[in-house]
Symmetry: C2
Subunit: 217 residues, 2 copies
DNA sequence: AGTATTGTTGAATCGAGATTCAAATACGCG
DNA sequence: CGCGTATTTGAATCTCGATTCAACAATACT
């Protein structure tokens, strides 16, 4: 059959296997955020990546593998970002405040949190997703424990319970209020959510947590 | 075309419009729990109801209407059950404990909580689901506020903050730990979740909440 | 340069689930 | 009972996304 030279001026260039797979993971992540963990379609992912469905299948013969990688990547990105934002802060109180902020969505369209919300329902039926979320939860608890214990050791926090319990509650509150913000709760917006979690943190640490809040960035 | 008399011995009987619609709402609710809010198929609902897909469409030409009713019914059932379980209890401390228990799943397969978890992700994309969940959240907060304020008025609770804040945190913790239990978190099972929420409740009410716990039923 | 390999397209095919609908059945009512 | 209406079936059809694959383009290799 006769074919003319393909005009690729408006298309994504051909890429190496590794690069393209990374692109696809990212495209899948964005597609899931837009269409849901279970409602997402192959063509939507392909479109996000600027490719055709055939190309996607070439790299990921089984869509489920791509979706798992996408969720994994999304969680990793979320967690790394939290660590990074609080990274340079020495003062436990400020570090705690910053960490709490970083665990809540910036608004109803916050990509990181939306992805996690998508996963929540599926986790009950899909063990892989369940274990991804479980792992994330535990890592976040450890992160909080480190802050809490440092603060307690320095005498600035007076913990109203074990650090694991407090850490779990902090992560749990973040999760739940994240869902509220994403669902556009009329009276719980991003700022209100931060204040609610901070309220618990004050109670649990005995610290006012009102130092000049660092730039939210 | 020749047809023999239908053998309905093993089938659901023909029903009135209202009865059948109620059946379908319930079948849809169960189908969603099994297959997900967005992954559920018409045939699965039909099978749950013991009917064919045609019959389902006859009553609900638009599947989305049925699904919304199913979610609504599931939430209503969940909320009513909570109210009922704590209904006869006069002592605020016992009432609080019972209410907390009733808001958490009994195990990873708890139908009521699973349905709510399914909804969480979709709520970000679907305003109807979002408002359903928002409404439920607010109603649960009010429920807790009533208990908290009664206890405070009687002098048995010493609230560590406004009743609305505490109520919101209680509902939020229930939600989040509900997700953990449903996702089969290895160290947060149904009992651990109750204990975590109770821990916060103790902190917030200044009450040990350790009276002989009423039969969990 | 020529050749092999890899990545991508686009059209054809497949298949599962939704939708339609005529026929059949059950029910209500005179 | 017999008629009219409501409910349900089951098969046909429709739709749309997944899957396959031959052709072709870009890159790597020698």
């Amino acid at each position: 059959m006769l074919r003319v030279r393909m005009d690729r001026s408006d298309m994504t260039q051909r890429k190496s296997r590794a690069d393209r797979r990374a692109d696809l993971v990212d495209a899948a992540r964005r597609a899931v955020i837009r269409h849901g963990a279970e409602g997402v379609h192959l063509n939507q992912i392909a479109e996000m990546a600027g490719l055709t469905s055939g190309a996607v299948l070439y790299h990921y013969p089984d869509l489920r593998d791509l979706l798992i990688e996408a969720h994994h990547a999304g969680m990793e990105r979320f967690y790394e970002q939290r660590i990074r934002k609080a990274g340079g802060i020495a003062d436990p109180a400020q570090k705690l405040v910053t960490t709490i902020r970083s665990g809540l969505p910036e608004g109803p369209d916050d990509a990181g949190v939306r992805l996690l919300c998508e996963l929540g329902g599926a986790a009950g039926r899909n063990p892989v997703y369940g274990s991804l979320l479980t792992t994330l939860f535990d890592r976040q608890v450890s992160m909080y424990q480190a802050i809490l214990e440092t603060g307690a050791a320095q005498g600035v926090f007076t913990l109203a319970g074990g650090s694991e319990t407090i850490g779990r509650n902090l992560v749990a509150l973040e999760d739940a209020y994240g869902y509220r913000v994403i669902a556009r709760h009329h009276s719980i917006d991003a700022e209100a959510a931060v204040e609610l979690v901070l309220g618990y943190a004050r109670l649990a640490t005995g610290h006012p947590l009102d130092g000049a809040v660092p730039q939210p960035r």
